[in-house]
């Protein structure tokens, strides 16, 4: 099978635009051609810290003049991440990141100030990047919601104490978001309640079930249990796998759908190369 340019997402029109030349990228590590990268308008915004605007794209400039939010997200095993989102799509933004627990902590009139705040917060020691291999390896959130809320709140207060005075006016009463139904779905599938009493008369902590991590899928099949960002949790018979769907972007696939109850469910086949 082949891989072609996946086109780009137009953040202003809010729609996917397919690649005009359908550039063949089978032998390339990229999933987007140069032209589409430029057309998306954001190629020069990657890594922007808000100090000087690098972009020459009108689209990026329009987007950057929209109101923004700065968020703090919780990932499994106590990893906190800071990030920015255009206010009109802030929930989509955290969902596409797979951030199931987060707070919005500042609201700014544009993207530049949001980036400046983000960069200050990352200098305080909070990462602004969590890669997909971390997300695959840390797929199950063990902590209770209250603990996570408390952790986010403590970090919020500490950030507020340490951030530059000039940014404080953009801070808001933290807005909590959680997508408990998604994390519950993960736990329902991947946690095994221990039935054994331990020495102290209590139950042991639930143990994690094994799951396969598929970072470069070629042929996958199973029933989709849930989706976290770009990762899907597949169940096939009694085996679980977490698949990074991002690495399939651009590939020609043969997708077969079967209704629940039939023998097999979703099948993805990227086929022979």
């Amino acid at each position: 099978m082949e891989k072609h340019c996946k086109g780009y997402y137009d953040l202003i029109k809010k729609e996917m635009v397919p690649c005009k030349s359908f550039t063949n990228l089978t032998e390339s590590g990229y999933s987007q051609c140069k032209e589409c990268q430029e057309k998306s308008g954001f190629d020069l915004c990657l890594g922007c810290n808000g100090s000087t605007c690098q972009t020459n794209s009108n689209k990026a400039r329009i987007f950057c003049h929209e109101g923004h939010h700065v968020y703090l997200a919780y990932f499994a095993n106590d990893k906190l991440k800071v990030g920015t989102a255009a206010s009109y799509r802030k929930y989509e933004r955290i969902l596409e990141q797979g951030a199931l627990y987060s707070i919005f902590l500042a609201q700014t009139p544009n993207g530049r100030i949001a980036r400046q705040i983000e960069s200050q917060i990352s200098k305080l020691g909070i990462t602004s990047r969590v890669n997909s291999s971390y997300k695959m390896n840390n797929f199950i959130i063990d902590r209770e919601q209250e603990e996570i809320d408390r952790m986010l709140m403590q970090e919020y207060e500490s950030i507020l104490r340490n951030i530059d005075e000039r940014f404080k006016k953009y801070f808001i009463k933290p807005e909590y978001n959680n997508f408990i139904n998604i994390s519950d779905k993960v736990r329902q599938n991947l946690l095994e309640e221990s039935r054994q009493l331990n020495l102290f008369g209590g139950m042991d902590d639930p143990t994690h079930k094994e799951y396969e991590k598929i970072s470069k899928p070629e042929y996958i099949s199973g029933e989709i249990q849930t989706t976290v960002g770009s990762l899907i949790l597949l169940k096939n018979e009694n085996k679980y796998s977490v698949v990074n769907m991002k690495s399939l972007e651009g590939w020609m696939v043969d997708f077969k759908k079967r209704e629940i109850g039939e023998k097999n469910n979703e099948v993805f086949d990227r086929g022979e190369r």
Binding site: H4, P18, Y176, N181, K185, V253
Partner: protein
Amino acid sequence: MGVKQFLGIKWINSNPQMLFYDNITHSIQYEDCNRNHRNKKDDGKTLQRVL
């Protein structure tokens, strides 16, 4: 469905969709990848505001 180009998962109105591009008809097809949540009473996100 036949061979199509996979464009990725997009979260649209808080629901994950798989996007497929048909290079012959030049159309994009959307496949829900959260079917299991659909049957539930509280579909989509649970937003909580505290303080």
